[in-house]
């Protein structure tokens, strides 16, 4: 409590210039939010570099790298594994959920602080520990594991199954185990904060859609990461305690029959892993959806179309997300009737997703009176999110059909699908959030000019990199191939296409230097942010002076998206205020 005046002074949007004082071991949520985002920035930089090395190895397998020489195929697979693990866990989970929620969630619901600040801080430090353990896998004997981020056993269960499957695999498992616990603690904190720390008047149906998204994502974390943690422990037991959860009878590795006489099943791991793995993609994308809704409302100066429907679809996606995991397993040996069942649930989840897209398009296309659209950088990235979400999403109903998946499964078609909808759409929502909330972190705005260039190059680069992968997939190119020139040479014809993709990926990655430059330059010399730079309605932009008084409380009087000019608005003479903050008192008593 004694911290509050300092925070109100340092971190509030109405503050004097300069970053909030970053005490490293703070339990303040905003400091933790910034720390989470920095951790993600580190992970995304590393994950991007790994992907570039992969792209080059794929099209030029014989190229001599400085210092290391020719990369062996197992190095390619190690890069794949670490790229996927870094991006999915430490970028797409951490930044939109832990990072942004810590940055603004308490303010958005009118709370002074998180429900469990110390638990929250513990969650961050465990996440950092998890990252360190993961990266340690690079330097141990045998290197990083090669079984991909899904780590199917027996490849992941037996140290002799390949290089990196000994100590590297153990570190991977321990790292993710720590990550599970960290996410769990973070999710408990978010959930309790949202349910119990809302200020008077902040009814559930007045919560911004970002808060709804964090609520549902937190519930998904609690359910799915628990299952992942159990699966990780079981796999560790298979590796070191002589159990056979995932090892079948009659296992023969390297010509030697395994002495263990268990009767486990690798399919059990697939079920447990994907029971976690599919909700995980919604954990990654739901906050981005919520943020996009908020940004579209703000920069079109209109209420989001169908707020109750948006809440309902968020809940529906969360619920359905728990029952679609089998669509990763159509050809894995499950019962074909189960394939049909999972195909139907997967088709069903396309409906709430389509409803969200329609709402975004409707918000944009609505024919109500309005001010001109404000194409700021956060808005550009939000629009980019919608575009990529549509493009990546529309291949979903194809892959949801087991008959078609029995051709496309594990080809580049799938790589294109999830990179567009999860990787790129997810990244665009993170960029949108950083551009939008940067004033809360630094008191300054990011450069719009650099931001527009960053958006343009990233948008073009994303499509140029990932859209052509559909064609490689249709041609039948499998994932995880370290090179295209195999014994059958059927894939060698795809080399020109893959070379083009590699060039596009380099452009895409290089464009991110603009973002880094923008961060560095704007932190020092960016334009000072006014109190509410985007004229937003949500409370993270409201003055935090109330926090100075220990007994004061925030009150909320209205919904989250009351945008739009007053009656009689004329474009030629814009009204002073075309929005009402949630804490603005009504003109006459309710």
């Amino acid at each position: 409590m004694s911290d509050m005046p300092r925070i109100a002074r340092g971190a509030g949007p109405a503050s004097t210039p300069g970053a909030p004082r970053l005490r490293l071991f703070s339990t303040h949520h905003r400091v933790l939010g910034i720390e989470y985002l920095l951790l993600s920035l580190l992970a995304v930089a590393l994950g991007t570099l790994l992907s570039l090395v992969m792209r080059i190895r794929l099209v030029a397998p014989d190229w001599h790298w400085p210092l290391v020489g020719v990369l062996p195929p197992e190095s390619y697979l190690a890069l794949v594994t670490m790229h996927g693990t870094l991006m999915i866990f430490f970028v797409l989970t951490i930044a939109p959920l832990s990072g942004f929620a810590n940055l603004v969630l308490p303010e958005q619901i009118g709370a002074r602080h998180m429900a469990f600040p110390r638990l929250n801080a513990a969650s961050f430090w465990l996440t950092l520990l998890s990252l360190v353990v993961l990266l340690a896998a690079f330097v141990v004997r045998g290197g990083a594991p090669i079984s991909g981020w899904t780590s199917y056993p027996p490849l992941s269960a037996l140290a002799g199954a390949g290089p990196g499957q000994a100590l590297g695999m153990d570190l991977w498992l321990v790292s993710l185990g720590i990550f599970c616990i960290a996410s769990w603690l973070g999710a408990v904190n978010l959930l309790v904060t949202i349910l119990y720390e809302r200020c008077p008047g902040m009814r559930l149906m007045r919560m911004p859609l970002t808060v709804w998204a964090w609520l549902v994502a937190s519930v998904l974390v609690l359910i799915s990461f628990s299952v992942l943690l159990a699966a990780l422990l079981m796999l560790l037991c298979d590796r070191h305690a002589g159990t056979s959860f995932f090892l079948p009878a009659g296992e023969v590795l390297n010509g030697v029959a395994l002495a263990r006489s268990g009767d486990g099943s690798p399919l059990l791991w697939l079920h447990l892993f994907w029971f976690f793995g599919h909700p995980e993609v919604y954990i990654a994308i739901l906050p981005g959806m919520g943020l996009t809704s908020s940004l579209l409302a703000n920069f079109t100066r209109r209420p989001i179309l169908g707020y109750p429907l948006m809440v309902a679809t968020t809940l529906a996606i969360g619920a359905l997300g728990l029952v679609v995991w089998g669509h990763h397993m159509f050809v894995s040996g499950i019962n074909p009737y189960a394939g049909t069942a999972f195909a139907l649930t997967t088709m069903a989840i396309a409906v709430p997703s389509a409803a969200k897209v329609l709402s975004w398009l409707g918000t944009l296309l609505g024919r109500q009176r309005r001010a001109p659209l404000r194409l700021t950088t956060p808005m550009l990235f939000a629009l980019g999110f919608v575009s990529l979400f549509i493009t990546g999403g529309l291949t979903g109903p194809i892959l949801a059909q087991p008959a078609l998946d029995s051709y496309l499964h594990n080809t580049f078609f799938v790589v294109a699908h999830f990179h567009l909808i999860m990787g790129m759409a997810g990244a665009f929502s993170i960029f949108a959030g950083v551009y939008y909330w940067f004033p809360l972190m630094s008191g300054r705005l990011l450069s719009e000019r650099l931001g527009r260039w960053h958006f343009l190059l990233t948008f073009v680069g994303a499509y140029a990199t990932f859209f052509p992968m559909h064609f490689a997939g249709l041609a039948g190119e499998p994932r995880h191939y370290a090179q295209l020139t195999g014994t059958t040479s059927s894939l060698a014809g795809l080399l020109p296409l893959q070379r083009g993709i590699t060039w596009a990926a380099m452009v895409l990655a290089t464009a991110q230097l603009l973002f880094l430059a923008n961060l560095v330059v704007s932190l020092r010399r960016g334009r000072l942010a006014p109190a509410n730079p985007w004229q937003a309605t949500t409370l993270e932009w409201a003055p935090l002076t109330w926090q100075l008084l220990p007994t004061a409380e925030r009150h909320v009087y209205r919904g989250p998206y009351e945008y739009g000019p007053a009656k009689g608005y004329c474009r030629m003479e814009p009204a002073q205020a075309d929005f009402k903050m949630q804490c603005d008192e009504p003109a006459e008593p309710e």
Binding site: P73, E74, L77, V80, I146, P153, P154, L155, L158, A161, G162, A249, G250, E251, V252, N254, L258, G264, P266, L305, G306, L309, V331, S332, G333, G339, T340, A343, M347, V351, A354, V357, S359, L361, L365, Q368, P372, L373, L394, P397, I398, A400, Q401, P402, A403, L404, S406, N410, G476, R479, H480, Y481, G486, T487, T488, S490, K567, G568, Y569, C570
Partner: protein
């Protein structure tokens, strides 16, 4: 557009069910591509149009946005489309996987081992012999661990290429020794994982003669990318000659097996 798609990207199709799958895939791609263009154009139109504001005096202002037209109706159409897609493709899935092969289908086994596919034919007795994990010894010529004490295994033929007669249904049983492998013949539009501990069946009918690559599509270790084999689809007569040749080559071993 579908025709150019086929010649352009999908590999040549040599199986009986393949054309049906290709048609399904192409119609799906065409519909979704149209939806994609429509949605992206709407997005672009929305951005361009909204660059200008709309005055209160503008006639459009009074046309209240109707939730029915912008949300409910398109959503219902999407529901219908998704339902139609799900149902139409289930027919093919059911034909491929619900129903087993015809009783007379040819028995072949594919076994995935890091980083090699082995194919086993049951031989003249039409039955696969026992295998024992402890007997697996590729260097000694027994990569699958055939049990010499089982009289049915003596005539089993093990090959590193898959040769199949055109026009006859194949009941393929899939196994793996060590890790999960993905058995993928792009030209047969066929994919199924081979899982250690499970005996899985898929069936298909090759109809067009030729040579088709067999790829591994489940990451299985450092040699994953070179775990490739070849399927030769040949006329039935040629297949009989090939099989007879392999059986002859096997005879001494079979007799030895019978003596033990």
């Amino acid at each position: 557009m579908p025709a150019s798609l086929r010649t352009g990207w999908l590999p040549p199709d040599g199986s009986l069910h393949g054309p049906q799958l290709d048609r399904l895939l192409e119609s799906n791609l065409a519909v979704l591509l149209a939806l994609l263009l429509l949605a992206q154009l709407l997005l672009l139109y929305g951005v361009l149009r909204s660059r200008r504001g709309v005055d209160a005096a503008h006639p459009a202002v009074e046309a209240r946005t109707s939730a029915w037209r912008t949300e409910t109706l398109p959503l219902l159409l999407c529901c219908l489309l998704f339902a139609a897609m799900a149902i139409s493709s289930q027919r093919l899935w059911a034909a491929l996987r619900y129903q087993g092969p015809a009783p007379g289908a040819m028995q072949v086994e594919a076994v995935g081992v890091q980083f090699q596919w082995y194919f086993r034919y049951p031989g003249p007795d039409g039955r696969f012999g026992f295998v024992r994990p402890a007997l697996v010894n590729a260097a000694a010529g027994n990569p699958l661990g055939l049990d010499p004490n089982d009289r049915r295994s003596g005539d089993d033929i093990v090959s590193s290429v898959l040769v199949l007669p055109a026009g006859r249904e194949v009941d393929l049983r899939l196994r793996a020794h060590d890790v999960i492998h993905g058995f993928f013949i792009p030209g047969m539009r066929l994919k199924q994982n081979a899982v250690p501990g499970l005996l899985l069946h898929v069936h298909f009918t090759p109809v067009v003669g030729g040579t088709y690559p067999i790829l591994c599509t489940q990451v299985c270790g450092s040699g994953h990318a070179r775990m490739q084999a070849v399927l030769h689809v040949v006329p039935p007569g040629e297949f009989a000659t090939w099989l007879a040749g392999r059986e002859r080559a096997l005879t001494p071993a079979a007799e030895e097996g019978a003596r033990q």
